[in-house]
Amino acid sequence: MLERLVLIVAAAVSSLALTGCASARLPLCPKIAAVSFQGGARTGAVVNNYLAAQGNERNVKISPISAFAATFHGSVFSIAWFQGNYAFMLCAFDPKQVVNYEAVYLSCMSHAPEWVKIVQSSKPEDLMVTQTHYADVCIP
């Protein structure tokens, strides 16, 4: 009887985790987003091509709330996956379209975790503080 109860509870928790929704606010990087598409820079793009592709694949809705941030809605697991891999997608681009791609990648990957924290903090305006290098990497 107890075993059966444990199984039911476990199934319920697992089901909640699978079907439960979550959301997160995360930074966007328009300058890199513009060169994340194959076949040439796409002026005006704010959502990185790799982010959009993963959003489609994992059924996560990406809603830009400005040129610099977006909200992500999806399952708990999907949002957790996005948070865990976010820097890779934010800093993904077609290297053929970027001459100094090594510097861009280094700077973006090393600062992206900080940008995520700032956007989720109570002081999101700090994103543009010089020391974050967000403007250098992400503003077209």
Binding site: N100, A103, V104, L106, H111, A135, D136, I139
Partner: protein, 478 residues
């Protein structure tokens, strides 16, 4: 929505004549002297007039600089395929940055590499901001000065205007920040390197960023600045760094001819007739080998479809083109230490040649570098016909009417295309002769002598030779 048809239409001259842009290319090549090994003549699809005068020395130098500091399209006629004209200095900076990347990776700690990347991108953004402010201020300040009756070079009025409506202070603050950031970057990069040739790359970048390599060039004729008569090398070097509405902060380039020479030299005068005796020429294709696949029009006009029909009908009766010019010559471009083409053959380039495809590949931005400007002074063309010219060419193509006549790339444009002391072109119809020509003092920028960078081809050949057996290489060569 369909794209509207271009109003610029080609015109064919005569019937069964063997005339082409190659004929003009041959004449120009003969007049400006032979080409050295790996040197090519590149024509301009639109040979614009250069505003040069002894009354505004430094503005004249600025006009020459703008034509010299140009990355070269890898085509025999530039401007046929529309690509954004880019400063040679900007392309070279990107090359240096990529080359220095190999030095950084090989010699700096991971933390220092990240710091250098941050500083590079920060400098790039600050430079972009300055450029944006300078362009914006230049347009708005000129409009304001014209409206208020100020001289555009009046620095006192400009400072007052800028404090309220311009960005001069911001430009200077950004320039200060660039200097500080460059200092931080220099601190990291200025060290002993185990490989001495790596230091050569770092030094080349230091030279490139050295403020001493730059001058603030006036963007209007010197005479429009109240202190324009004081302009000299020291004066312009001592102006605050950074481009503004009044001055453009550019890396210095020098030339082997004086302004006086350009305006008065009697060198390479052209007097040629192209008619039925002219043999077919394919010299552009021959000289440029595989790069010249397009065919280039000889004459084009900006006219409506019905006007074009009339003009084409008249030009089909053409019998000869008499081409003349007071002078045609080349002006050698001399680059100070900020530009070091010897680095193109640096070991780190050779070892990573495929990574430099954007610079030295078949469409690379440094595949050709300009060595000389080709200038033509007092250009004139007489079109001879078997019939009288009846179309009102003066009314249609005078500068006041908007111009719009192009022959051999020399564009006879509207009044606006002639500035300051450059006089407008003239048209004359006399029975069976139609004459269109520049003033005898008008200088046209007809093209470049360019040098091909052979580093990629040589490096790939060496790599292939090293990878394959010598017998196999010989077999391919045979």
């Amino acid at each position: 929505m369909p794209t509207p048809a271009s109003p610029v239409r080609d015109v064919t001259f005569g019937q069964a004549l063997n005339l082409s842009l190659d004929s003009y290319y041959d004449i120009l090549k003969a007049q400006v002297g032979g080409l050295a090994t790996e040197e090519y003549l590149q024509l301009k699809a639109v040979a614009d007039a250069i505003d040069i005068s002894s009354h505004y020395t430094w503005f004249s130098y600025y006009n020459l600089l703008q034509r010299s500091d140009q990355a070269i399209e890898p085509t025999p006629v530039s401007g046929v395929v529309l690509t954004a004209a880019t400063d040679l200095a900007l392309v070279y900076e990107k090359f240096l940055r990529q080359l220095r990347g190999y030095v950084v990776k090989a010699n700096l700690s991971a933390d220092d590499q990240k710091k250098v990347a941050d500083l590079d991108l920060h400098i790039d953004r600050l430079s972009d901001q300055i450029d944006q402010y300078a362009v914006l201020d230049r347009q708005t300040w000129k409009n304001y000065a014209d409206l208020m009756g100020y001289n555009v070079g009046d620095s006192t009025a400009y400072f007052q205007w800028s404090s309220a409506a311009g960005h001069l202070r911001k430009i200077q603050a950004l320039m200060d920040e660039i200097k500080a950031t460059q200092f931080d970057r220099t601190t990291i990069l200025d060290k002993q390197y185990p490989e001495p040739s790596d230091r050569e790359i770092v030094d080349a970048e230091f030279d490139f960023t050295n403020p001493g390599m730059r001058l603030r060039y006036p963007v209007f004729p010197d005479s429009q600045y109240p202190n324009g008569n004081q302009f000299n090398l020291s004066y312009l070097a001592l102006l605050p760094l950074g481009s503004t509405a009044l001055f453009d902060d550019r890396r210095v380039i020098a030339w082997d001819k004086t302004l006086d020479f350009l305006k008065t030299a009697q060198l390479g005068a052209i007097s040629a007739t192209l008619d039925k005796k002219t043999v077919t020429s394919t010299s552009i294709t021959t000289d440029w080998a595989g790069s010249a696949s397009a065919s280039y029009g000889l004459i084009s006009v900006n006219a409506s479809a019905s006007e074009h029909t009339q003009i084409q009908d008249e030009f089909s009766h053409g019998t000869a083109i008499e081409l003349s010019a007071e002078a045609a010559f080349r002006v050698a471009i001399s680059y100070p230490k900020w530009f070091r083409p010897t680095l193109f053959a640096h070991k780190r380039v050779i070892d990573n040649i495929h990574s430099f495809d954007a610079f030295f590949g078949s469409k690379g931005s440094l595949l050709y570098i300009p060595t000389h400007l080709i200038l033509v002074r007092g250009f004139k063309v007489v079109f001879k016909s078997s019939q009288k010219w009846t179309f009102d060419y003066q009314h249609k193509f005078s500068a006041a009417a908007g111009g719009g006549f192009n022959v051999f790339g020399i564009g006879f444009g509207a009044s606006g295309s002639y500035s300051n002391e450059t006089k407008e072109h003239t048209l004359d119809v006399s029975d069976t002769n139609l004459t269109i020509g520049d003033d005898v003092n008008t200088l046209r920028f007809a093209g470049y002598a360019v040098k091909r960078t052979t580093v990629a081809g040589d490096a790939i050949k060496t790599l292939t030779a090293n990878a394959l057996t010598s017998d196999l290489v010989k077999a391919f060569d045979a």
